[in-house]
Every structure is written in C-alpha cells, then in structure tokens.
C-alpha cells in the first residue's frame, strides 16, 4: 500500500511579484511503505522545496500530498500532527540544538507530540541507540559535542518522534568519510528494524546507489526520472546533461565496456565491480 502519494504537486515562490519562480512543477509519484527513495538533483532543482511540502512546512500552490490516503492539508489547523508522522531532518541539523542537555534536546519532539514521561524516556534512549550516541553523552550539553555527535543528536531528535516517514536532507554533508559511512549504516540499520519509509536527499551518487530502492531525479522543478538506481545510472548521458554524475565506479565500468571489455551494464558499487571483473578474468582463464 502506498504511504505517500503526491499528485501534480507545484510550488511557486513570490506569486505576483517580479521574483516569481516555479520551484516545483507538476510532480506526481507514489511511494510504498518501507521504501527508501533517493532524491538527487542539481542545486536549485527544487529538492528541498519538494521535501518540505511532504510534511506541510510549505503549503503547495497546487496539487496534493496524500499521507496514508488522506490529504495532509485537509484540516490546516492540524498540520502539526502531520509533522510527527513525517519526520524531517534538515541540512546541517546540528544548528537547531538548543536545550541544556542532549537528553532534553532529543525529547523536544516526543514531548511536543504528547507522549507520557515513560514513553519519552524510552523513545529518547532508543533513538540515541539507533544513531550510536552513548548513554554518557545524553547528560552532556549539546554544544560540547563534536560535530559528528551533534549531527547524530539532531537526527535522534527526529527519530525519537517515531515518524512513519523519515525525510533526510543531505544527512552526511560535511562529515568525514568514516563518519559518513557509519551514519548511513546506522540509518539503514534503523530502517531495517523500524521498516519505515525514508526519503534521502544527497549529492553523493555512491550513497544513493548503495541504499535507495528507487531514485527520483529532479531537474528545474520537474521530476525527470523515477526508477531503480541501476536503471537510472545506466543513462549516463541524460544524468550528466542535468549537471549530475553517475557513481565513479559505474563510470569506470562503462568506459571499460566502451573499450570492448565484456562487462554488464549498471554496476553501482565497488564490490559489484570487483565481483564482475574477477568473474570475467576467470572466464577468460587469466586467473
């Protein structure tokens, strides 16, 4: 069953001013429960505006967002409830930390949602565990944490609201490679256990190809492509014409193929590439 259905969604900035600009234009799609959707697009392609319409932070100019079959703007006064169901982690979320301890900060969301103290405690500790924050850190001030830990605390603040849909806007931006991989692994681990739907915006094609079930490609406000990473990244020229690129390893494998090496299309990860190359060498009796 589709948990989120988007119908002809459009958003125009600055209507009736000289600065009028179509940020999102006629986007429609339907997302099943438990899917991981990767969202890629050039800067200014409307990704951020699109994801902010999913939880009602921005009201669409036209079109609808249906959450579990119901229009989220059906009762505009209760839009706050939608924000607990569609959790949104902004870019650089560590800049929203404000309370005097990490524990209190993570509990801000669940407290707003109206959980009891006991439930809050459970949610906070679970969320901290998911993102790999130790118990000891919960008592610290969020401003004393390292950059990576702050990021984790901020993400935990959203996860603790126990949303059905989690939207992450560039969750790994500005982290070192090790922290990046760890955070992605933890998000996927969380996804496996909680089985909720995830939207992830990223500039890293490697990350997207590794974790997404389907990839949305946005260009100039429009949804240009929506398919599996394999099918998307097979269309190198189209992707590159939109100012994006395919994962490096895919590019290497494609170049090899163009030069006459007998490799299959749509190789997305280094592991896969290794497997295919070894296979090929074995077949040709070279190893």
């Amino acid at each position: 069953m589709s948990i989120i259905e988007v119908k002809n969604l459009s958003f125009v900035y600055g209507i009736d001013t000289p600065f009028e600009k179509k940020a999102v234009e006629d986007v429609s799609l339907s997302v099943d429960e438990g899917e991981v959707i990767g969202l890629i697009g050039h800067t200014g392609s409307g990704k951020s505006t699109f994801v902010q319409m999913l939880n009602g932070l921005i009201k669409p100019t036209s079109g609808q967002v249906l959450l579990a079959g119901r229009d989220i703007w059906e009762k505009p006064k209760e839009i706050r409830n939608i924000r607990f169901k569609v959790g949104m982690v902004f870019q650089y979320p560590e800049y929203q930390l404000f309370d005097d301890t990490v524990y209190k900060d993570i509990s801000f969301g669940p407290r707003n949602k109206g959980y009891s103290e006991k439930e809050i405690d459970e949610k906070v500790r679970n969320a901290a565990r998911f993102v790999g924050l130790s118990e000891r850190l919960l008592k610290e001030s969020p401003f004393d944490l390292s950059g990576g830990e702050k990021r984790r605390a901020a993400i935990a603040g959203i996860i603790a609201m126990d949303p059905d849909v989690l939207v992450l806007d560039e969750p790994t931006a500005g982290l070192d490679p090790k922290g990046k991989n760890l955070l992605l692994a933890q998000i996927m681990q969380y996804h496996k256990q909680r089985k909720n739907t995830i939207f992830i915006v990223s500039h890293s094609m490697e990350d997207i190809s590794r974790i997404a079930d389907r990839v949305m490609v946005m260009n100039k406000g429009r949804l240009e492509m929506l398919d599996t990473p394999r099918n998307i990244f097979a269309q190198v020229e189209k992707i590159e014409s939109m100012g994006l690129r395919v994962p490096q390893i895919t590019k290497i494998m494609m170049t090899l193929k163009e030069r006459g090496v007998n490799l299959p299309d749509g190789i997305l990860t280094v592991e896969q590439a290794f497997f295919e190359v070894v296979n090929l060498l074995k077949k040709e009796g070279k190893i």
Partner: protein
C-alpha cells in the same frame, strides 16, 4: 515570513540622485530639513515644497514607494494637525465649549502637515537611493573630524556596516531554524503571550549560538586579511565630488537664498 520585513529600503536604480555622492546627499538632506523648518510664510513653504517634489521626481523611484513611506506616519500627521488647529491665537472663527478654531490655528495645521510630509519624503529619498554600505561609508567620512575627541569613527562605521550586512543573513537563518523546530512539532502560533515567548527559546538559542559562531569566524577572517582598524587603510571606492554634486549643492544654495528672501520680503503667516 520574516522575509517580508523590508530593512534598509534601498532600491537600486540609475537616476540622478542615485549617482550623487552619499556624503553630499546626507549634508544636503540636513540642509533641506533645516530649511523646511525655517519657512514662515506660504511663499517660502511653497518654494521648499516645490524643490522637494523636484528632487523626488528626479529620483527614479516609483511614487508608490513614497506613498508607502507616508502611510506609516499618517496617524501622526492627523493627530498633530488636529492639535495645532486648536492651538492658534487671535479671533476665533468657530467656538464650542473650550475649543476654538482660529485662522492662525488652521495655518499652523497646514504648516505642520506640509512640513512633516516634506520631511518624510526627502529623507525617504535618501534611504531609497543610497545603499546601506554607501551610507555608512559616507557617515564615516563625515564623522572623521570627531577623531580629535578620541571617538573611534572607523570602528563605529565598521560595526554599522557589519550589522547591516548580517541582517539578511540572520533573517534567513531564523527562517531555517523556525522551520526545523516546527518540523519537531514546535507550536509557535497558538497560546498566550507568555507561551509564545517561551516557544521562541528553541529558535533564539540556536540563533544566538550561530551569531556568535559567525562573529568568531568573521573576526578570524578579518585578522587573516591583516585588518587592524582604520589607520592607514585605503578604500576601493573613493568618494569623489563630481560636477553633479556641485550642481546639487548650488541648487540647494539657491533654494536657501530663495527661502531667506521670501521670509524677509513677505509677512510671516505663523
């Protein structure tokens, strides 16, 4: 929503007033303000009003903008002119209870209204046609003589420039933080005054933290460029008086002479 606040209402343009030296603009503005209040009869008042209108027409700013700036003070104009009507002396024209309206009261009201309107129009003309950085630059140059009183003119101007520069940045930041806290279910719209103020803490604390972080970064960046205050510092854009500026000075001087002559040769109305 914080984007709607128009701060530093500079409107870029290519008009004559835009091209003027900001220092000249400030000085002439002061001259005009003094002149506006030194008019004692209708002829000099008419002269100054005509010159203000001339300046506005030359300014290449849509008249709608001027009306907007007048809209803000319409209440003040109405109240002051009403009060002035009852303050005149001499033979009452109309009298009821303790109020009396005299001819001089009506004159006073007309004078006050025209003066305030002229004042707002001419000062709006300055803020509309001068970018905030030009304005602070000009203020720095004009305040230079104050150095002999050990007033740190350059530092004050630099603080003003930085503050103006960061207004839009901090507004944008506020928008972002508000959106992020709303996404965590923060309720900033409902509830009474106290509840609303409390609801702002999750926005204000991150905002302060980021303002301090920016200040620190900026200080480091300035130090990296060997900034050490105003001494020996040269400017990229040197303010220079051009023909146009001298022309404007001459124009204002003529208005000044005109106002003085009108005041001498015609009887005072108030």
């Amino acid at each position: 929503m914080t984007r709607d606040i128009a701060l530093g209402q500079f409107i870029p343009g290519k008009g004559v007033i835009h091209k003027m030296d900001a220092r000249v603009k400030i000085l002439l503005l002061i001259a005009f303000i003094v002149l506006i209040f030194c008019t004692f009869n209708f002829i000099s008042l008419g002269l100054i009003t005509a010159s203000v209108v001339a300046v506005i027409l030359l300014s290449d700013i849509p008249f709608k903008m001027y009306l907007k700036s007048l809209k803000v003070i319409i209440l003040i104009i109405v109240i002051t002119s009403l009060l002035n009507i009852f303050y005149g002396s001499g033979e009452p024209l109309v009298q009821f209870w303790i109020f009396k309206i005299t001819l001089s009261g009506i004159y006073r009201a007309v004078f006050v209204t025209v003066r305030i309107v002229c004042l707002i129009l001419i000062s709006s003309c300055l803020t509309f046609t001068t970018s905030p950085t030009d304005l602070t630059d000009a203020i720095e140059r004009l305040m230079k003589p104050l150095k002999i009183f050990h007033i740190k003119v350059h530092e004050i101007a630099m603080m003003m420039t930085i503050a103006l520069r960061f207004v839009p940045t901090l507004l944008e930041e506020t928008d972002k933080i508000m959106a992020a806290q709303k996404a965590r279910g923060a309720d900033m719209e409902s509830g009474g005054m106290i509840k609303k103020i409390k609801a702002m803490t999750p926005v204000l604390i991150p905002l302060f933290v980021s303002a301090f972080r920016r200040a620190y970064d900026l200080a480091v960046a300035m130090e990296c460029r060997c900034y050490q205050g105003g001494d020996g510092r040269t400017r990229m854009k040197i303010l220079k008086m051009k023909k146009l500026d001298w022309f404007c000075v001459a124009f204002t001087a003529l208005v000044l002479i005109g106002v003085i002559l009108c005041n001498i040769f015609f009887p005072a109305a108030i």
